[in-house]
């Protein structure tokens, strides 16, 4: 009995985990070297050994190295030892990267074969804020819901710098890779099976690939899979005023929200209500700056209280044609500026004016960002402004998704 208790105690003790596995975790530093032409940044994250030479981390930890290899260098810090590292493979949509580190690691992790049960204790290891190795205990809460991508929900406080570190179960097997947090102990992990896939690819490869080409390949592949899933069934519908509107995709249960908005004007001349669906399958291209893969769907219903139709349309149309979008992004380095056009057409008994904007990624071929807005001109007392934003989609897929979106709009006379 006493022996069993001591085993139980030992297995849940964070200090034990730290003592046993701490030296299998390293700090990954991507250091900006002096270059007047590039805004070189230093990114610090964590990584863990998967075998004697290979270290796993997040793509967003090493992304600077991919975009500007000449003005950045990679360094792995293991305790007080500085080790040289070389990037071997990346998987931006799953935010993973594998680094080859010089020398031989004293010990390494193994990947868990399957997800733990809900409520299981997990321990995340990493280097928060560059202040030394730390451990965070928390619980496993299954797959994250309302998300385009597959992520594990870890209830525990991940902090900046812990990105790329391992999250292990009581047996010391890696369940996932620390990747993001939404604050208040809500944190996300990349499932271990993606690590396995990438690790196997590294084992099979002869030499490191062209990384910017690899980014394009993986992003194209991931949007292809996503589009097929989204198009597999007709869109969900919602009703706003006298319009039936697309409300999301059955294949993905994304976070949706609807209700009156506080945008209404102080003079109480018209009312606004909205509906929106956010799919932030965000592939981080550059931490805190550049993302791709998001899908945003929005509707705004403007109802006149004591406003003529001309005024109502004007108010609703304010900003309609302007190039204001949710994802700003850096036009100098990453994106071209938006190109837009306009067209009036009829659809489902509704008369619509649509505005389509598009921009290219300067560093990624084959995918683009799109914003499609449509405004109805059916009822002089009410109008709907609908919007579909697609980030990082191919031309063919974007057209299909947009077509599906527009077809789901109809006016009930």
């Amino acid at each position: 009995m006493g022996a069993l208790l001591s085993v139980l105690l030992a297995s849940t003790d964070a200090s034990q985990v730290m003592a046993q596995y701490g030296d299998r975790v390293a700090e990954v530093q991507v250091l900006g070297t002096q270059d007047v032409n590039v805004d070189a940044r230093t990114v610090i994250g964590s990584g863990f050994w998967l075998d004697a030479h290979l270290l796993v981390t997040n793509f967003h930890v090493v992304s600077e190295l991919v975009w500007w290899p000449k003005s950045h260098r990679l360094q792995v810090l293991h305790g007080a030892t500085r080790l040289k590292g070389r990037l071997l493979e990346i998987d931006p949509p799953h935010d993973l990267a594998i680094i080859e580190v010089e020398g031989e690691a004293p010990a390494h992790f193994t990947l868990a074969a399957q997800d733990p049960v809900r409520g299981a204790a997990l321990f995340a290891l990493g280097h928060p804020h560059d202040i030394g190795l730390s451990i965070v205990d928390g619980t496993f809460n299954g797959l994250v819901e309302g998300q385009l991508e597959e992520l594990l929900h870890f209830t525990g406080a991940l902090n900046p710098g812990m990105s790329g570190g391992p999250c292990v179960d009581e047996a010391g097997e890696v369940v996932g890779v620390n990747v993001a947090t939404r604050g208040n102990e809500v944190s996300f992990l990349v499932p271990a099976h993606w690590v396995k896939t990438l690790y196997e690819r590294v084992k099979a490869q002869q030499s490191p690939p062209d990384f910017s080409q690899r980014v394009a390949e993986t992003v194209v592949e991931s949007q292809q899979t996503l589009t097929q899933e989204l198009l597999s069934q007709p869109m969900n519908k919602t009703t706003l005023g006298a319009w039936d509107l697309p409300a999301g995709w059955p294949a993905k249960d994304l976070r949706a929200w609807g209700g009156p908005l506080n945008e209404s004007d102080p003079d109480d001349l018209f009312a606004v209500s909205g509906y929106q669906v956010l799919g932030d399958a965000m592939t981080v291209l550059r931490p805190d700056a550049e993302y791709t893969g998001q899908v945003v769907l929005k509707h705004r219903l403007y109802e006149a209280k004591s406003l003529g139709s001309v005024q109502l349309y004007r108010r609703a149309g304010q900003g309609f044609s302007r190039d204001e979008h949710d994802s700003t992004g850096d036009e100098e380095e990453f994106h071209t500026s938006w190109s837009c056009d306009a067209r009036v057409f009829t659809q489902g008994g509704s008369r619509l004016k649509s505005h389509l904007c598009m921009r290219a990624y300067k560093k990624i071929d084959g995918v683009y960002d799109y914003v499609l807005r449509a405004m109805t001109f059916d009822d002089p007392k009410a109008t709907v402004v609908s919007e579909l934003q697609l980030y990082g989609f191919s031309v063919a897929n974007a057209e299909k998704l947009q077509q599906r979106f527009l077809e789901a709009i109809s006016w009930k006379r």
Partner: protein, 312 residues
């Protein structure tokens, strides 16, 4: 009777020949004076033959007499004979023929229509220029500022050219300077009309509504002034008629402007206040095709952004 025609085939002047032989040429002593550099002093003579018919004879001129595109020493004159003395276009019309009257009527109608026609052409073409200008400047305010000088030259130059052409048709004189000046002042005026009211209203803390109305009215006034200035050089209408025409145009423009404004056509959102009142008829008035045409639009936009990417 002799009609001297302009380059565009319009009658510039008419002369009745009463004495024969009659002379045509550059010299003041001639019966019909042709004010062209390549017309000789006494270029040709009209002589009466024994049977009463008339013949035009070359008087040993430097550039000769051409009839039906051929140089000839003499041309027998019929009911209606077109000849060229150098570059001067001269038409001989027999007064004994009764058709002359209907001919005269037709000619005088012709004289009036080109003014309207030229005005229309000028209006449409300048609208076209404006359209190109607005499309070119759609992207962002900073780019507009950068290219403002070049665009001003193109815009005002194009505007003046078209109106000058109209003037040339109707009066035979281009009046380039007048049209250029009108275009330039109007463009400056439109910009000031767009900027001043919001600026003043923010300085005086006025509500936005009167300032936007004032801005719209000011701009319409400037544009009306512009049309008035140009039109008065092209047509020879009375002042009253001119004012009525321009006033009507201004009212139509205002209606178009406001409809365009509420339709807020993206192609006309330059960020410049100019667009708030200027614009073609609202999109809503036109027929709407039954599909969004996404394929073509994406392809066109893709071309645009790929070009921007390649530039990088």
């Amino acid at each position: 009777m002799v009609e001297v025609l302009s380059r565009f085939g319009l009658v510039r002047s008419r002369h009745r020949l009463s004495q024969f032989p009659a002379t045509l040429g550059r010299a003041p002593s001639c019966d019909v004076i042709l004010d062209e550099a390549d017309v000789s002093a006494v270029h040709a003579r009209v002589v009466r033959n024994a049977d009463g018919s008339l013949t035009l004879e070359d008087n040993g001129s430097a550039n000769g007499v051409r009839f039906q595109r051929r140089k000839t020493p003499s041309v027998p004159l019929g009911v209606r004979t077109d000849v060229r003395l150098g570059s001067a276009h001269v038409r001989f019309v027999s007064l004994t023929e009764p058709v002359a009257k209907t001919q005269l009527f037709r000619v005088s109608r012709l004289d009036r229509w080109p003014a309207v026609f030229a005005g229309l052409v000028a209006f449409v073409t300048s609208e076209l220029f404006l359209d190109v200008y607005l499309k070119a400047t759609r992207v962002r305010a900073s780019e507009v500022m950068e290219s403002l000088l070049g665009l001003t030259i193109v815009l005002v130059g194009g505007w003046a050219f078209v109106w000058s052409l109209a003037s040339r048709v109707t009066h035979g004189r281009s009046k380039v300077v007048g049209h250029l000046a009108a275009g330039f002042f109007a463009l400056a005026g439109v910009n000031w009309a767009g900027v001043l009211p919001p600026y003043l209203s923010s300085m005086l803390r006025l509500p936005p509504m009167p300032s936007s109305v004032l801005r719209a009215v000011l701009m319409i006034a400037v544009l009306a002034w512009l049309v008035f200035q140009n039109l008065s050089r092209v047509v020879s209408w009375s002042r009253r008629r001119l004012l009525v025409t321009v006033g009507t145009l201004a009212l139509i423009g205002m209606a178009f402007g406001f409809t365009a404004q509420f339709a807020s056509d993206s192609r006309y959102s330059t960020g410049l206040p100019l667009t708030d009142v200027q614009g073609p008829p609202a999109l809503l008035l036109g027929p709407a095709p039954p599909d969004a045409d996404l394929g073509h639009r994406i392809a066109a936009l893709q071309k645009e952004v790929d070009a921007a990417k390649a530039e990088h």
